[in-house]
């Protein structure tokens, strides 16, 4: 249905209701790119393939799938399986499981409730039964982990790792020491030994750096090819793939290499450069993919992202210290000001026309950050759109689409005004 609807109305978002439908549709949209199709397949098959691998005897652990976790888990010989990715398979009934069976308040973040519903469905099915909870993750996840521990999952949650603004010098060194100990504790829970193979971790740190460099190359090439890779696959590649490689590091790297070659060989379309309204996305990956479609169809080009990892890991350091310092140096170190700095740098680098601030309904933490960022950029004359979306459902509301379209229309008219 989706593609037909798209052709018929051709300038307004699709009426697709599930995330998987959107990904399938996105494959047809990117029919000209084998690399993007491969990336979408990696996205779609990430969780199911990891669960199959686990059943076939390969170690796998549910994890947030961000920051330091995947690098460490790969070095320990374990597939990191991002539990936030389960939202892609979630519907209203998963939320109801969390609300009805586990008594989660209705207003709890939909991402957390979806995860609980999905874990509940997997009870006693012989699938992955260990959960690594990084306390850097959203706080309500602590409740989800505790509930799942009671249901029989093997859950480990480490202490929060947080670098407050302006923390440097001896205080930072003490944090580095603290986090290093924390990661050794994680290793002990994963393998039974309080040690991490230096060479394997070094290889994983190098892989991380290598993939970040390649991903940055993709982002740079998108500046001159703003519509080649549309919003949905790029945002999933950034927020999921760059962090955990969809459970398949070699395939992910090969797809990135192929994409770089495709982009390098693609002629630059001057018309695209003229019509692209450059935007920076400052939000998570909601499952309401129609928002991304609306941005694309309105002529918006999401070229900048809040999660762009600025800094690479220092490969000259011992591997564990390198991973720890990488964590503290990037935007996910904790305080909202780090992320704001990334957004600002992206706005300046791209000469972006506006910023879309996106968060999930029920996420009180992100709503505070968004409001601070909105005010900051507003005072600097950078238009911002503050959107709240849902994590678990497919189609966005008409009001959300109206906001997105109106925002892009406003930026387009501003651009015309300025000539």
């Amino acid at each position: 249905m989706s593609a037909l609807v798209a052709e018929k109305i051709n300038d307004d978002p699709l009426e697709i209701t599930t995330q998987k439908e959107y990904l399938e549709y996105s494959k047809t949209v990117h029919h000209y790119s084998k690399a993007i199709q491969k990336l979408i397949d990696l996205i779609n098959n990430y969780v199911p393939d990891a669960e199959k691998a686990y059943k076939a005897g390969q170690p796998a652990i549910w994890t947030g799938g961000y920051r330091w976790e995947p690098t460490l888990l790969y070095a320990l010989g374990v597939i990191p399986v991002s539990y936030t990715e389960m939202g892609r398979y979630s519907f209203r009934d998963d939320m109801l499981v969390a609300e009805d069976i586990y008594q989660f308040p209705v207003e709890t973040c939909s991402m957390v409730k979806c995860s609980v519903g999905q874990w509940h469905k997997r009870l006693n099915t012989g699938t992955i039964d260990r959960i690594l909870g990084s306390s850097c993750m959203c706080e309500p996840f602590n409740l989800a982990w505790e509930v799942m521990r009671q249901k029989g999952y093997d859950v480990y949650a480490n202490e929060a790792i947080y670098r407050a603004p302006n923390v440097d010098g001896p205080r930072l060194e003490s944090l580095v020491q603290f986090m290093g100990e924390q990661l050794l504790d994680v290793a002990e829970w994963v393998t039974g030994k309080r040690e991490i193979d230096e060479e394997r971790l070094k290889e994983e740190v190098k892989r991380k750096n290598r993939l970040l460099v390649k991903f940055r190359r993709v982002l740079d090439l998108r500046i001159t090819h703003p519509f080649y890779m549309k919003t949905l696959p790029i945002i999933l590649t950034l927020s999921v793939g760059v962090n955990n490689y969809f459970g398949k590091p070699l395939e992910f790297e090969a797809a990135l290499d192929e994409l770089i070659v495709e982009l390098e060989n693609e002629p630059i379309q001057e018309e695209d450069l003229k019509r692209a309204i450059t935007l920076v996305w400052a939000g998570g990956t909601g499952q309401e993919f129609g928002v991304y479609e609306a941005i694309d169809l309105a002529g918006g080009a999401l070229l900048g992202f809040r999660d762009v990892p600025f800094k690479l890991a220092d490969e000259s350091l011992p591997a564990l210290e390198s991973l720890v310092r990488y964590h503290y140096a990037n935007s996910r170190a904790g305080a909202g000001v780090y992320t704001r700095n990334v957004i600002e740098s992206e706005v300046e680098k791209l000469k972006a026309k506006g910023v879309i601030l996106y968060g999930y309904i029920g996420c009180s933490f992100a709503s505070i950050d968004r409001e601070m960022w909105r005010r900051y950029f507003h005072e600097k004359g950078v238009p911002c759109l503050n959107l709240e979306g849902s994590f678990q459902t497919g189609a966005p509301s008409g009001q959300v689409l109206t906001r997105v379209r109106a925002f892009v229309e406003m930026l387009d008219s501003n651009r015309q005004k300025l000539g």
Binding site: I9, D11, D12, P13, P383, S397, G398, Q399, T402, R403, R405, A406, E409, M410, S413, N414, K417
Partner: protein, 290 residues
Amino acid sequence: MSVKIETALDPRRVAEVTNDVVVGFDIGSRTGKAVLLKDGLIFSAIAPTAVFTQQTVDKLLSILEEDAKIKLSDIDFAIGTGYGRVAFDLKDTRKKIVTEITCHAMGAYYLNSDIQSIVDIGGQDAKAIRVDPRNGHVVDFIMNDKCAAGTGRFLEKVAELLGLTTEELGVEALKATEPSDISSQCVVFAESEVISLSAKSEPPTNIAAGIHFANARRIKNLFNRIGLVPEIMFSGGVAHNVGMKKAVEQVLGHKFIEVNYDAIFTGALGAAILAQQTLISSKLDMAINI
């Protein structure tokens, strides 16, 4: 129904209107509106929103065709806006979709180019829009659609509770001696409050006024985010509600500017103007490419 362009529009904008025959459709959640520009005249049509957008569009078209003595094939370009903008068919007539926020700003600019702020309260949401007085472009906007409170649907519900029509609700509010204090921001709890006030024999006039002031405070909150700059226009379906108009004026501390055309058609008018501007741009592009 038709009026001359020079009667309805800002005199500074009249010369910019071309001879292209264009239509703007504004399909809202409660009513559909359409404006046709032809031969120096503005034709308008209004109809309740049907279950399917196409039914509403067909109804509006039939009214316009009869009034303006045109056929669909006579229309050079059409723009659809409002929540029903997505799904409608005009056969071979060229069309485009634009959000109601952009259309309201452009409509307001053509009605009075001094307008810099718009209060737009429709059936299912309320919007505050800032307009560039140099060109009618949107400077900033904010929408309140978290719940039904502060919308036309909310007022309908309250009118029903008080045994009034929505038109009567506004008129009754003007007779209030002491507006009731309605504290709830939620339509469900506000409904309980209205029932509770009625049970205490609070006069319906005071309750009606209290409801309007509660809504007006929400509008003020929207402008706190984007800034309020006079002149201010009240558009959207609720613009006809005299009680709401008074309450918002009082809370904002500014009078609404009067325009010479029914403000409920602001979005449809803006869509029609944008249709003409689209044709001008495409002709320019063609000329450049020749």
